[in-house]
Structures are given as C-alpha cells and as structure tokens.
Symmetry: D2
C-alpha cells in the first residue's frame, strides 16, 4: 500500500491535531507514525505524519480535500509520496570519504535518493563516479571564472532537476545568489563542532586551542559562511597524543556519519526550519531498513 508524508507548519492553536487526524480518518487513511512539536517560544507548531490510504482515496483527493483545513489554520503544508526518491546533486573537491560513504549507502538502498550527478572542481573522483553510472561534471573554479562556473552549476541543477545539493567536502564557497536561490536545499558538512572553528582548517584551529573532542556539523548553507541552521552534529574524543593530521583521519568517520544522517533527515521530510534553528523529527520506524547490496 502506498504511503505518504504530510508536513505541516502553522501558528500554534487548539484543535490542529484534531482537524488533521479527523480529516485523515474521514478519508480512510491510517496513521503509521506521527511527530509534533509546539514551540512555546515562537508560537509555531510543527507536525509530520506518515500515513497510508486504505479506502482508495488518491493523493489528489486527499490534497484537494485538505484545502479547508489548510486554510482554517493558515498552514504551510505538503504531501509527499514516500516512494519518491529525491533528486540529489553531490559536490566534492579532493577529500572523498563523504562521497564514498554516500555512494555506498545509496547503492545498498540505505539512502533512498536518486543521485542525478556529481560536480567537482577536480578530476580525482571521475572514475569512481562514472563506474557507478552517475554523470560526472567537472566544473573548474578560479577567481576569474567564478560567475561562469556558477552559471554552469545552476544549469546542471536545472537540467538534472536536482532538488537538493549536498556539499560533500566541497571546498569552494558558493555565491550569495546561489545560496538564496537554493535556500534550504543545500546541505554542507563542516569539519568542526560549529560555532567553533569556522572557516578554513578547522582541525588545525582545534589542535591549537587544545580541545579534547573534535566534531562535525551538517547545516543548511546560507550566505553567512558556516552560520546556517544546524541539522546534525557529532564529536569524537582525541588526546594530546594526536596531531592535527590525526584529527583529519579520526574526523572522517564523524563527518561521513553526520552528513549521512542529515541527508536522511532531509529526504524524509523530517527537518523543519524554526527561525534559525531546526526541528528534526526522529526517523519513521522501518525507514532505516535497507536491502542488501549484490
């Protein structure tokens, strides 16, 4: 049976859950899993519901029928087909661990996405990507050609229909224009526990400050470098006996996992913007399951 995800954001008030769940019950829909959050500080209400349609109502019926509820509470809401694989464009420079990790998760079905292409300013991963039957685009970026390079990038985004851009250790800063155009649709992995150690060489900064844990942060990209809303973070313990170059090695696993979890949350419509903060609902039961590679 087909399942759908409904995401709702609106001003918090009495009766929202009753209206939504009452509507779904009337339409013969079965709620598999539901998460909600009432932000008492901002007055915003967030909800994510996974449901199946059991009595034959089509998604069009449901969407149309929901209009009065939507209007009554002035909702921002969307119905998503759970089977839809979001189109994702990966970008990478010279560090390939996140790319390798994402390709593997994609290949075994653990990350149900469609990778519509990989863009890189280097050629290091061309062979790997092409051998996965994924289009590889080399887009060199220099100070001189930056506008043209970005135009090329946007062309690839449009042609491929990419819904999400993932900066999997892509080391070029995107222009404000792209950040705005793709707002909420670009995820970056930064190799520090933000807001500490923004900018270049965060592991070196961490080493110099003498912290006892290093971290990684996945966040939406905004025009403010390393300041976008945080989706996921994690850390690893280090000691005095490790150097900044050891951090690079130790950090790989943390970066890969933090990025993968952030993408997982985004593609399943589990992330909501709440001002500059994010609401991230837990994964639906079963959504971690994956087929075996072979």
């Amino acid at each position: 049976m087909k399942s759908y995800v409904l995401t709702v954001t609106c001003q918090s008030t009495r009766g929202i859950v009753a209206a939504i769940s009452g509507f779904l019950a009337d339409k013969g829909c079965y709620i598999i899993d539901s998460s909600q959050f009432d932000d008492l500080e901002t007055g915003l209400f967030f909800m994510r519901i996974t449901f199946t349609s059991q009595e034959g109502a089509t998604i069009e019926d449901i969407t149309t029928g929901f209009e009065p509820v939507k209007k009554r509470f002035d909702m921002t809401c969307e119905f998503h087909d759970s089977d839809h694989k979001m189109k994702v464009l990966l970008m990478v420079s010279r560090f390939g661990h996140c790319l390798n990790d994402l390709l593997y998760r994609w290949k075994i079905g653990a990350l149900p996405i469609e990778i519509v292409g990989v863009v890189s300013n280097h050629f290091d991963y061309q062979k790997v990507v092409v051998n996965h039957d994924i289009p590889f685009h080399h887009v060199a970026v220099t100070k001189a050609n930056k506008p043209q390079a970005e135009a090329r990038l946007m062309e690839i985004v449009e042609t491929s229909g990419a819904e999400l851009i993932v900066l999997a250790r892509y080391m070029q800063v995107l222009s404000d224009e792209i950040c705005q155009k793709m707002s909420g649709r670009i995820i970056n992995i930064h190799h520090s526990f933000l807001p500490s150690f923004k900018g270049a060489n965060p592991y070196k900064q961490a080493f110099e400050r003498g912290v006892k844990l290093i971290g990684a942060t996945a966040h939406y990209v905004t025009a403010d470098l390393d300041e976008g809303p945080i989706i996921e973070q994690d850390v690893a313990r280090i000691t005095h006996a490790q150097s900044a170059s050891d951090y690079v090695s130790i950090g790989r696993d943390v970066e890969s996992q933090v990025l993968a979890r952030a993408i997982h949350a985004h593609i399943h419509h589990r992330v909501f913007l709440d001002g500059h903060r994010t609401v991230v609902f837990p994964a639906s039961p079963g959504s971690y399951a994956s087929e075996r590679m072979g």
Copy 2:
C-alpha cells in the same frame, strides 16, 4: 493552568488519534506535547498526550466524557495530574551513590517525586536520610527472617502509600510474591549491560570476560532475576589498565544516571509495557527544568 497527561494503550486501528484529539478539542483542551507509537509487530498502539484544559472543563468532566472513546477502542487509559508527585520508596544496601544522586535531584526539584521513605538492611545511610527529613526504616534481612522482613516492607509500602519502589543498589532479592504484587512498580538498577553479567559481581564478570565497555541497566523487577523489561541502559569505556575495582568507581556515574533517567521516565508516565519490551517516550519539553536549591 493545570496540565494533565493522558496515556493510552489499545489495539491499533484507524481513527484513534482523531477520536482522542477530537475529544480533547471539543472539551477545550490544548495539546502541549504528544507522542505515539504503532507497533506493527504486536498490533498495539501507544500514546501519551500532555494537555491543558483551557475552557474550564474539570478532570472529572474530561475523564467521564472520555468513556465512549475508551469503550469504542477498548483502551487501557489513564489521566494523570501533571502536578501530582508520585510517592516513591527508596531501598538501599551499602553502596550509596544512587541514593545520594536521587536525594540531590529530588532536593533541587529535578525529580518531582515525594520520597515517602528509605528502607535499608543496613544503618549506613540513616543519618543522611534523616537529615533530609525523610523517614528511615531499618529492615534487617536474614535467611531466617525473610518472610517477616518482606511483610514489614509491604506494611511500609501500604502505610506510606508508595506508588513506586526504587531499588537503588539494594542487594537483597525480593520474593516472587512481592514482585508480582508490585508488578511494573519496582525499578532496579543492575550494574551491567544486561543481558550480560546477570547475578552477583557483574563488574568482576565483565573484567574476566575482557569487555571494553561496562554498563548499567534500569529495569522493572520481575520474578525472573535481572530479566525484567529494560527501561534504560548506558555504558562507559574502560581499558586493560583498569581493574574490577576501578570499574566500581567508573560505574557509579553510569548507574546513577541510568537509574535517574528511568525514574524520570516512569514518574512522567513515559514508559509503557509492550510485551517484555518497553516503549519509552521522550520527555515533555520543560520537564527537565528544575528550581535552584537554596
């Protein structure tokens, strides 16, 4: 404004959420926070809702009014006053770290319970307990007097109105009879990552097996020793350079926290039995907050 917690367990079917939330909306109730879980394997549905009554409906109105919904879905359900402080009886033998930890959390309001007494088979903590203005009961347990000791314990439970017994490193095994009578109302902390290292001297067992992490487990007590439903677990890393007696020291923090979290979950009606497993919903926003001691 007064707030309440509604807990519901029933067979999973369509329309439950709509019925509950519709009812609450009709009664002028505002849902602050809601968690649900649909166990596809057992077919059971679990829900916990925190709400306030905004239009003057009393808890009696609400409880009575809910009867038809309850019947329709054949629910096991309860309404709890969020301000009610559960009456808790602590039991301890010679290791006092969990007791000290719980007394502190209680004193600063982080664990909103009423400690109706402390029972011990030793006198070590009499002074500490009495100085907190909590009744201390010394109940010696020997092979010979076990039935009388247990009768004494049950008398204390009944007189004090204890709703929950917490075995905070109480080293005597309770009889099957008490386990059954107080089923789901006794929480024990075991100093291993169950199901490994049941029974006596788990740290010694852990040392001998050469594990690289030690743990603690908070569980409901059943007649089967160390086999009851698990509420919470955690671990700490150890190395070859630590001995079993070091584990005792390292384990104290883990035990204290695991037990405190399990009690927090229980007293806020966040724990549901699902066969031999537990469903533990997250804490309601704000429920961690506590006043400052002084």
Copy 3:
C-alpha cells in the same frame, strides 16, 4: 609499600627514559605505571612514573640522587608522595550540583583530596558544607568591595594552605592578579563546549545557535576569560524539544563529571602544560578505586 609519582618535563632528546628508569632501578625502585609523550611539534618531552621504593631508599635519597639526571637533561621535575592528599579550596555561587558531586566523591574516598574550605558569595550551601565538617567562608563580592574580597580570598588560601582552587560554578570573575599568582592552580568548570559560547549564559547562547549537543569544559583559569588551557570536555545530546532551561538540567551531569575528572587528573599529577595545550595522561591502574561510604 609507599608509592611515589615522578613528573618530568624537558627538551626531547635520546636517552631520557634510559636515564630515568636506570636511576630508579639502581635505587631499588619498582615502576608500577609509566606514561610518556614526545611532542614532535614543540620538541618537549613529558613523563609521569608511579613507582615504589623496595630496597629502603627514602624519598630524600631518591630526590637527591636524581639531581645529576635532572641537571643532565635540564628537567623540570617533581617527586610526589602518592598518599599526600592535595589541599583544595572549593568556590561556589548558587548552583550546587558540582559542589554536591565533589563532596560525595570526597566523602567516599573517590577523590583523595583534603577540602580545606568552601568559599561562597552566597549563603545557600553553608549548612551543607558545615555538616560535612568543612569550614565555610562567606565572602560577599560587590563592585565596590572587590579588592577587599580578593584580599580575603587570598588570606584564606594562605591560611588554609590550599594548593588548588576549584571554581565549582563560582560566577564571579577573578582578578588578573589572582589568576597570575595562582597560575595552573585554579580549575574552572564552564558550561559550554569551549571555545563556543564564552562568557555569560552559555546555554542560552547554545539554544539560540541551535546546536545539537551541549557541553562542558574544565580548564585552568588565566587572565583571559574562558581561554585557559583545557583539561577535559564532554557533551550531551539535546533536541529541538528542549529549551535553554532544560539544558541547565541536562548539563548538570556533564558539568559535574567533567569537573570531577579534571580534578582527578590534576591531583594525581597527570596534567602537564604544553604551551597553551595540556597533556593529560591516563589514570594509574587502581587510582579509581575507592572505599565504601559508611
């Protein structure tokens, strides 16, 4: 048999370990546990050795006999009696969780220190402290009386012979003068994962930035606020559903443990300054062990 700790810092060169261990062997000393670190970047060598004297050599013999080795490598070195309990002065304002935690660890012997007094700018913990038979000093601090207050503090430090000051959530900033005079002998617990969220209200800052983990940092106090060398850090996971005041509750356990671990490291002479960074050697086997309270 008595045991001693030898700590050594010097320029790294060939033959240091041979010289030290050869000397100890000649003196009939048995090495129980030894840690060393060669900082290839700064060229500094750090070593910590725990040993027992088995052939009757006194610590005076050993210290005197070691002079040639010390001179040959231009060492900064010290011999410490393992049984010596470092004299510690605790300072606290209105949050008492670290104080409670330290008092408990001290009481059961898990932190082998001598608490020579507790200084507070409030009266909240006077009773608790006095009931532990520890001198309590109320030293009010206002803008007007700051110099006098600090003079009073230094008087207490001198009279009590305090070797270490622990700021266990003491919310007044110490003067540069005291920081310098007591350099490397004041440990503070800051309730953030430094260098993020320095200064006031770190949990509020963390909430506003939307991080997914909160942390605590124990560091030596320097004239630069929250910039001193870090001894220990740890973090706890939080979600969108927790408020800044929930962080206060969740953070208590992290703060208490991070501070206790840092003090444990310091009093056992496991912490070395390496520029602005610290070398922290692991605890000696058995040093975690503690007697049972009673």
Copy 4:
C-alpha cells in the same frame, strides 16, 4: 629515518624498562612513543616501543644485541619494521559494508596493509574486489564440501602469505583446526555487544530482549564460537521505534568502525594477549594520518 616497533611480554620484575631503554640508548636509538602495562593480577608485563635508529645500527644489529636482555628477563619479544605492510586476507559473505569500509581505508592509506585477497562463499563482491586489482577467490561452502573448502582456504593463506585473516561479516563457522592453526591471527566482527547475543541473528535477539543500545564486537577467533579475546567494542543507541531490520542499518556503521579499529590495533602491534583478555595500547601519534586518495 626508519622506525621500528618493539613488543615485549615477560614476567613483571624490577629493571625491565631500564634494561630495554638503556639498550636502545646505547644503540643510538630514539624512543618516539612507548606504552607499558603491568598486570598486577597475572604478574605479566607488557611493553610496546616505537623507535628510530639514529646512529646507523641496523635492525639485525639491534635484534642480535638485544639477545642478552631478552634472555635475562625471559621475554617474548619482537622487532617489527614500521613500514612493513601486514598481508591481510579478507573474507566476506553477503553483507558488504565492512568490506567497502576496509577497501576505502586501505585505498586512501588509512589502513596500511597489503590486501592479498578476498575470499567469499558468494559472488556478490567479485566485481568490486577485482576492480580494486585484488585477487578474488570464490570458495563455496556446503555441509558436504567443508573439509575441501577449508583446505582451499588454507592453500590461499599459504600461497598469499597472509599474516592475518579478517572475517568481515563472513557467515561460515571455521573449523577448530583452522582456529588453532591461525590462533591470534583471525579477527572476526560480531554484530552484538558480546557476551550478549552470541550466535545467529544477534539483532533479532537484541530486539526481543528489548535492550536500549546495540553493539558490535571485534575479537580473535577461537574454537569457542564468539568467545575469543575481545579487541574492541562499541554501541549505538536505539529506541522502541526501531525494528530488528532498522538495527541492521544502524549497526552497519558501528560494525565497520569497530572492525577497522581492531585491525588498526593489530597491524600496529598494539594488541597483546593477557590470558583471555587483551591489552590494547593507544595508537602512536601520527599513525592515524593518511594520504589523500586521487
């Protein structure tokens, strides 16, 4: 300059460190990094030293010259060339995440080993392996052909010169004979926190018991299934909302990392057997560092 690793095990007594470090100093060797452990319970002493030869002494000189020290303390000891890449044979069945992870770490130089072949009882990963220019051996195993299959395996081990066999989710049980012949040279990853959930389907067992953390264990293989000495373990938190098949997904990252860390420890001669337990010394500074793939 070439660096070497010396590993020593012997009965604990006075003067061992002095003898070893004195010898190395005499030979013009510089100690980069040294770890030792004195097991007070078993009376065994363990040491691992990384050093460079600075005055021209060859490894043969050093080894020969060390004979008297070795004899004096009746040591089990070995000198290893740090540049030597241990020859490793990987074995895999149908779950490829550990294989993928190890191949990646190997490719970028993070695991300095020589993969001399991959053996599988399936064909799933033939293409992946062959594209890495690594010999792939399909060795089918049935009840009937088990002896022949094992003979084939041992033939591959001998021909390839494999020093270590890694069971990277290889689901066939090896015979006692092979376990004994390759004692201390076969590492397995088991997908549970041993000693809990030995044998088949550990994630299902974990689900049924209702634990709150799942784990993975890397251990040396012995004739006793899942009872060999543990090298490394780690865990991941799960909730009631995840099914056993979700555990499979969540567990992949834990398994991959635990296995990689265990192999890292083994190939750098950091693991010592201490009865049925292991001593695992920390990684030498810099040993995590790796080149970039390209």
